[in-house]
């Protein structure tokens, strides 16, 4: 008999004895907590402003350009992420 089955039997035993759980933490949501909360800087998603000239998408190559160009344009913090594929030819497996 494998170890797996032994543990499995033990689990079924435990469940037959009944689980007793204790209360988890309670959620704090007072307005005073909001200073700490993540997402404060989240901009409004919907607006009626002119989106064509927006700060976020300024100066990009819009609708033209090869979709593969993203790779050669990339200038970001990903340079600080090392190892894996970037040095050892690590290949991503399907999830």
């Amino acid at each position: 008999m494998s170890k797996k089955n032994l543990v499995k039997a033990a689990v079924v035993g435990a469940l037959s004895a009944g689980l007793v759980l204790s209360a988890g933490a309670t959620k704090a949501a007072s307005p005073n907590d909001m200073e700490k909360c993540y997402g404060v800087a989240k901009a409004g998603m919907n607006d009626c402003g002119g989106k064509g000239t927006g700060h976020s998408c300024q100066g990009q190559s819009k609708t033209d350009g090869d979709p593969n160009d993203w790779l050669y344009l990339k200038k970001g913090s990903c340079e600080k992420i090392i190892g894996g594929s970037l040095t050892s030819g690590y290949k991503k497996k399907g999830r």
Binding site: M34, V40, N46, C48, G50, K51
Partner: protein, 279 residues
Amino acid sequence: MSISGKSSFKKSKIQGVGIGLRSCHYQSIIQHKPRIPWFEVISDNYMIEGGPELNYLESIRNDYPIVMHGVGMSVGSVDDLNMDYLGKLRSLKERFEPAWISDHLCWVSADKRYFHDLLPLPYTQESIDHVAKRVQRVQNVLGERILLENVSNYMTYKANEMTEWEFLSNVAEAADCNILLDINNVYVSSYNHKFDPFLYLNEIPVNRVKQFHLAGYQDKGLYLFDSHSEKVKPPVWDLYEFAVTKFGSIPTLIEWDDDIPSLSDLLTEANKASKIIWK
């Protein structure tokens, strides 16, 4: 939640020059409670299940009156009215008690696809009838008159049977709704389509106009673009002065949606409008 039918918020009167509520200013508003007569809130951003955004809005609503302004109603679309959207809008109305609710005289969706852009309608009797019918249904759901805003316009339909100002006035009449007159949009469209913006304002029925918008455009050379990313431009101030003489001291909103400045810079802009409105 109001049960007795009486407002649960103390402040609900909208007067003078307000600014748009944007999340980057939440902290500053809650902490410093600046002297701002009222805020305009983008309703669509609060059609959510829960979370901090609604808490912020509630906290701010306790100190300031608000109006709600939407971009997703799509009153000009031939798609079915989005009842889910209207239900959410009604819930927001009940919870936050805005002084009024507005959206745009345009379509933002077609064939069940949302463009999230304010697309103009052809100025035809068919459009008037269509929009009037839908606005009446919206007003039945919400239990109040809404305001419709004129949008900035960059194209002209061959099917047009009338001018933009005739169209806007006729829709308001046929739908029995009010008007949110965006002075910047009038100016932008007048430049792009070469009509007289003063003539436009002159032809709008005074009793329907309940709110003004002011915003900054970008000069693209060939045309003006309603970018909401800068200060109100001099010709728009001129047009605004004219609008105040014609329509009176209508509550006015400074719109700024992109490259949003600090609250104090926004207030400086609002003060310029205050000087005109209370002259």
